[in-house]
Point group: C2
Chain length 468, copies 2
């Protein structure tokens, strides 16, 4: 890559154009969306927005970059993945890493103490991309959050209900929502004897359990994080517990160690309330699991945490997680980090990982999705009729009908009709010298290839009737 | 602003949070969109997308950043306004400056020789912001472009037609679309004696005429660009010509100087064809003006150029332009700059400056726009009924009804009903002990405050009927 001097003026300016030397690629980990891909993206996002609106959410947006200070100290070990902007004089900026920190900054700045909002936008992470599996450096997040001081677990349960609704509506296969509580993790660390100042970094290690086996995580805890093997093993035993909520609750209640610690005990009571609300909201028991090994990497979570994974069934029906598709949790102190008076606004939310959804649907799509909504194509049967074509188009557009024609003055009829079939345009209006003389047009049903002659003056009402 | 070392790790990490010290602002020239503003933005964009789809456009998207080389040499003097990303190891990247250059890169990279697409996304310019007038450093562009080798002026005229359709549909007041042709400007420079290598920079000077008086532009041409006063004056006389297309065409045809130059003559013939198609498409004569002083700043234009300005009427009805709201033109050689074989794809397009539209509508809006689509609010009249509330909500959501409730376990009835009125939610379902015992609910029309008792089993069908 060519470097340049700092004033923003290219080192080798060429005002009449670079002459074909520009690198012909997109940045690593990013992609263009073709019309086909956009059609899928639009339909997926519409499904998600429908759910957000069904639950009464408002919509907000924030800038793609933030002052670097806003992002500092919010992401723990992942901070190294933040994209920084060049210092071109002025403020020091970074691209947003998620939509949660900008949301908290927005709440503090606008002095908002309660809101239920969604935010759909791209975020940026200098991670190792795995594009076929839907992991990009630029990717969409679809976030829904409920901010405000409310009664325990009512907003939290609704977030889980929405994850279930969205994943059902998207029809991308079997899934499971793993749920845990940061208080339970903290309590477990406490009763296993982890020093308080190591809680967050041990939490980061636990978070790796969804990708790495326990042995590796154990090694990291001992060799990198400095825990004793005894403490690590104790943690391993306590957190490798998961299953149906009622089963896990019963198991934990019989664990005197667990119940003797006030933090874990309180966390468990919260989870019982959460699962009760989930049940009342109609969340299927099979959709959720209580999983004590779920940690979530980010520093800012303070309560319930959850992550939805897609399930692939192996031989004999054994469930295997094939990757996270949604996640979130409660973060009650993040807004306070921004507020000058440290006033907190309790928040809980969920983020849908739509890039993976796009990938799944792209891979199974039959490539016949329409990429336009054109209803009528205006075709000419002979040369030199472009002006008549344009007049008809103008009438169609004026009546709100979606209409196209060829941008060639004298296109071949066959090519025009082939275009209609290819683009799945339902109707073609065909005119030739003969039709013009008689004041009629031919109306062609593109799929059946049937044609009928209709008076030109009746064209709009007839089309409107056919299209309604 | 705090600086940091280059490895992406904050100089003063605080894994447990920054503690209220983060700067509470958005970057200069950017803004958050509140739910009210988002409601306006969604409605404006929907109007524009409707027009794009009426003309058969497909939708694409590209990454927010490009390899810096892709942008180099495309924007002339404006290149200094490009945001660069910090070199964190890897590719050298810049934020996109417009949607046109990424589109051309996309066409070359994907080997597409014809497409009609729209692209709605944010672009970035380190310009002096004037936020109340809708000028930001991060702003939306809504671009529509037609790429492909077609017959003259057919796609060009449609772009102008679409600008008229969109500005009419947005109802933001009187406007005029100024139209010119780069060939005419080049021909004028030629016949006035401007050296060929100065064409583009003199074009940049002419472009400033919409904001600066001729005297200033003349000074720039002479003192900064090195033209003689005679040549500058000759240019001034030739380009300060504008008015109704037919009047200007007649005036130019009587100018023997103008008609003797093959470049200007050819440009004029193109403009005649363009205006003929515009008329056939139903573009109002009053919507357009032929303006020889229109230059457009960007280097890449090669043919027709246009710019729509909003008009304010002074005393006596004199029209004053109050700022550009849309612009575009033909750029036939931009794709070739990216193609390894310099294969060109002729393009013409238009970009709608929606930020100014948002500003205008925000300023006149009566602040009563709904920011949610909630149809039903479920309220409780006594304490301790949260579980019953949640059960009803679950049924409503399951039937696709947009429904909310309070996240407090025992909210006051008055507060719940006030919330419904404030948010303009049309219906409230109210339950109390009495209703539960009788197996009924109260259905309240929020606007009229009328209440009726209906059997709980009939709730969904009755609501569906009322909401349809």
């Amino acid at each position: 890559a060519k470097k340049e001097d700092g004033d923003g003026v290219p080192a080798a300016p060429s005002s009449s154009g670079g002459g074909g030397k520009a690198a012909l690629k997109v940045p690593k980990g990013t992609r263009d969306y073709s019309p086909q891909q956009m059609a899928i993206r639009e339909s997926v996002l519409a499904t998600i927005i429908q759910c957000f609106k069904r639950h009464g959410a408002e919509n907000i947006d924030t800038p793609v970059f933030e002052l670097k200070d806003v992002l500092t100290g919010k992401y723990g070990e992942d901070s190294k993945l933040i994209y920084d902007l060049k210092d071109q004089g002025g403020e020091i900026l970074s691209l947003r890493y998620d939509l949660t920190v900008p949301f908290a900054r927005y709440l503090a700045m606008s002095k908002i103490s309660s809101i239920k909002r969604y935010h759909i936008a791209k975020v940026y992470r200098r991670d190792n991309p795995a594009m076929t599996r839907g992991r990009f450096r630029e990717f969409y997040q679809c976030d829904f959050d409920i901010a405000g001081a409310y009664d325990p677990m009512l907003p939290d349960a609704e977030c889980i209900k929405m994850v279930e609704e969205i994943l059902n509506a998207l029809q991308i296969g079997e899934f499971q929502i793993k749920i845990n509580h940061r208080q339970i993790l903290d309590g477990v660390f406490e009763l296993c004897g982890v020093p308080l100042e190591k809680f967050r970094e041990i939490c980061s290690s636990v978070d790796k359990l969804d990708k790495s086996p326990w042995e590796e995580v154990r090694n990291e805890m001992i060799n990198e994080k400095g825990l004793s093997p005894e403490i690590a093993d104790k943690i391993g035993k306590k957190i490798q517990v998961s299953g149906k909520p009622n089963d896990v609750i019963a198991q934990l209640k019989s664990d005197t160690d667990f119940m003797s610690n006030p933090t874990t005990k309180q966390g468990l009571e919260s989870m019982e309330l959460l699962f009760k609300y989930c049940q009342l909201m109609g969340v299927e028991e099979s959709s959720v699991s209580f999983d004590l090994s779920l940690a979530r990497g980010l520093d800012y979570y303070t309560g319930v945490i959850y992550e939805a994974v897609l399930i692939s069934r192996g031989k004999g029906g054994a469930a295997v997680g094939v990757g996270s598709i949604a996640g979130g949790g409660r973060y009650d102190t993040l807004v306070g980090m921004f507020d000058p008076k440290k006033r907190n606004v309790p928040c809980v939310g969920v983020s849908i990982g739509v890039e993976r959804v796009f990938s799944i649907i792209e891979q199974r799509s039959d490539k016949k999705i329409r990429t336009t909504e054109t209803q009528v194509y205006v075709a000419t049967a002979q040369k030199g009729l472009v002006e008549e074509r344009v007049k008809i188009l103008s009438t169609l557009w004026g009546s709100g009908i979606k209409a196209e024609h060829s941008y060639k003055a004298s296109p071949k009829l066959l090519q025009q009709l082939q275009y209609c079939e290819e683009m799945q345009i339902p109707w073609a209006v065909v005119i030739g010298e003969g039709e013009l003389e008689k004041g009629i047009v031919k109306l062609r049903n593109v799929a059946t290839r049937e044609e009928e002659e209709i008076p030109r003056t009746d064209l709009i009402p007839i089309l409107k009737a056919r299209l309604s």
